[in-house]
């Protein structure tokens, strides 16, 4: 498979969130605003790429029967690094989402890609697979985060300065004069409702695409 095909395959057709339903715990927990979602997406992407590339590079050293502890050790190392980097360079965001960054270790999306892909392919293929998986997860997080933030506060991109510095404070866009909306969307039950509805939309769209592709063939 070409690198581009690997990327699109793992980002869209085999998307961790909407087609494999992996990594849903952090997806639901952190997606109450765009900035939180982006923070987790970046941290997960860092871990996915770092860990999978290391696993791919060391795949001939890792014995088949001890592969899971080796994978978890490597993933845990990159997760801890991500937490430390966040604590140092995005402290306010760290205070909000650090727990969910810590449990990236148990995100089966990353372990799944390590087992199914990185341990069997070369570094170049693994990079594009990990980037694809991370982008797919990021798209799902951001769509869910944006929808929930819009429903809950009637605005978008609040507190982007947590990630991009004081200049990003003005990115905040508000629909009405005052923040007002459906509080439910920001709370955990709202996460399930919004995610369920979005998932249904994604399924319908994917089915339409598949049907059209078949007709073309």
């Amino acid at each position: 498979m070409s690198l581009a095909t690997t990327f699109t395959e793992s980002a869209f057709r085999a998307n961790p969130a909407w087609s494999q339903l992996l990594g849903l715990c952090p997806l639901l927990a952190v997606s109450n605003s765009v900035v939180n979602a982006l923070g987790l997406a970046l941290a997960s992407g860092f871990v996915a790429v770092g860990a999978n590339v290391s696993i791919s590079a060391a795949r001939r050293l890792i014995p088949e029967f001890a592969r899971l502890p080796c994978f978890v050790l490597i993933i845990a190392t990159f997760t801890t690094c991500a937490v430390l980097l966040m604590e140092a360079f995005a402290f306010e965001l760290y205070l909000r989402v650090s727990l969910f960054v810590q449990i990236i270790v148990t995100n089966c999306m990353i372990l799944g890609r390590a087992e199914a892909f990185a341990s069997k392919h070369g570094i170049a293929q693994t990079v594009s697979d990990a980037l694809g998986t991370a982008s797919g997860f990021a798209i799902a997080l951001l769509v869910l985060g944006a929808t929930r933030e819009l429903l809950a506060t009637g605005g978008l991109f609040a507190r982007m300065d947590l990630l991009f510095g004081p200049a990003a404070h003005s990115w905040h866009w508000q629909l009405g004069a005052t923040p007002d909306g459906l509080l439910l969307a920001a709370l955990p039950p709202g996460a399930f409702l919004v995610a369920g509805l979005l998932l249904a939309c994604a399924k319908v769209l994917l089915r339409r695409f598949a049907a059209r592709e078949q007709r073309v063939e």
Partner: protein, 177 residues
């Protein structure tokens, strides 16, 4: 079988070594910035606790208690929460004698790792449970009901407060009286 075991041990050991180096490197790279961030955060909370600016007197922590010489005492405390240590700051007013603690001014959590959602009340010192502790008699702190779903967290904070309040009454250094 023995060969397999040896092979796994060798692989795990070498991976652990590389991972250890990577972790130590990141830790060394970020340690200074991390501790600066935490200090800044604690100072911001302290300022909020005392309502505006910090007094001009230099910091004078004795036994984690700081007499501000204006009728207030600030203390630091640590509690063993549900998921890890909870660090907190609180202020007490001391009417009359420093030996009779007056009213609790406010409690701010400076560091915690409790479950998000359930323990969100730790992040909002101005509303909810932490706000309810304000203006209470320090003797009543232990009688407060715990937050539903966060019993361990709330009781740990109460115990830490009680312990720290008892410390404030015997530290009298720092002020000319």
């Amino acid at each position: 079988m023995a060969e397999r075991r040896l092979q796994s041990v060798a692989a795990l050991t070498s991976i652990a070594l590389v991972c250890g180096v990577l972790l130590a490197g990141t830790q060394a790279l970020t340690a200074q910035k991390v501790s600066a961030n935490h200090t800044q955060h604690a100072q911001r909370e302290l300022r909020a606790l005392l309502g505006g600016s910090l007094p001009a007197v230099p910091e004078f922590w004795v036994d984690d208690v700081w007499h501000l010489c204006n009728g207030s005492v600030v203390a630091r405390a640590q509690a063993a929460g549900y998921a890890g240590p909870i660090e907190l700051l609180f202020a007490l007013s001391t009417p009359g004698s420093a030996r009779i603690p007056g009213k609790l001014h406010g409690v701010r959590i400076t560091r915690h790792q409790e479950t998000p959602g359930i323990a969100d009340f730790l992040n909002t010192p101005d509303i909810g449970w932490l706000a309810a502790l304000v203006d209470t008699d320090p003797a009543d702190v232990a009688l407060f009901d715990a937050v539903t779903g966060a019993t361990i967290t709330s009781e740990a904070i109460q115990a830490a407060l009680v312990e720290a309040i008892s410390r404030t009454s015997h530290v009298t250094v720092g002020c000319e009286t």
